[in-house]
Symmetry: C2
Subunit: 179 residues, 2 copies
Amino acid sequence: MNEPVIDLHSDDYFMREALRQAARAYEAGEVPVGAVIAREGRIIARAFNQVERLKDATAHAEMLALTQAEETIGDWRLTGCTLYVTKEPCPMCAGAMVHTRLARVVFGASDPKGGAAGGAMNLLQFPTLNHHCQITGGVREKECCALLKNFFAEQRATENQEKKIRNSSENTENVSEKS
Amino acid sequence: MNEPVIDLHSDDYFMREALRQAARAYEAGEVPVGAVIAREGRIIARAFNQVERLKDATAHAEMLALTQAEETIGDWRLTGCTLYVTKEPCPMCAGAMVHTRLARVVFGASDPKGGAAGGAMNLLQFPTLNHHCQITGGVREKECCALLKNFFAEQRATENQEKKIRNSSENTENVSEKS
């Protein structure tokens, strides 16, 4: 009876929803990143990374969620909306968030090399751009990171296995050529 | 008989094609920016800014041209391609250009406040990102700038006229209320 009360309006709750989307990307063999957009406590868009499936390098979870939210609202201005994403947004997505005038961006895993919400740079609060977004990082960070780490570890394992199979078949060919 | 020979593979030629696209945006009441993507001397994508028409803040000329080129090639990797755009790309578009691994970006008008190809920042050659694009700026710069300046001047004139009409109708209302 001591279960914590789930606050349906907390960052934690919405990030869990973004994580569900990231899990769908994982299942589809895509880099596992998920995003949701909330307005007045309600989710108005959900999306996961679909770069490989759509053969489109711009089909990041955030971009798909942003266009979905624009369609829901019927306007390109997403004033008052908060975007939750499992990984710190890249420059492309951060740029799009500024264009759509998002109020706030919440992310899980940070990205020191490519992140544009303070990791490698901060485009969400860039002095000369005409809109700034509030930023909260590190929400459900461990789960968000674990998903990404597992995915890349699995990918490397598969690649190594394929290399081994290739090598052993090449060796067999060499042996049969010599014999 | 002394007309200069048109080099169909020059930056100048492709920028002229991008300018045609920008003119289409102008006619449609959109901020006049146009883009084309060329591969091996052939144009594989053409697009103009459609933010208002599509009610989508991400519908910049460059983004539309990139997804069009991906579709033409059947891959999200645009290796060996050059993008020509009449205005220096914003952070969102520059980020997308890095993702698609464009070889080269050529622009006309520079943008010191929001440009991400050296104007306000340089995302096309950012040290920690995994791809860098070659950059050439200032191609047919005068025409590219003129189109943008005319557009914004016209917009301001229309706004001022609307304000005047509003004010004079308010004054008329006030007079009739008083009488």
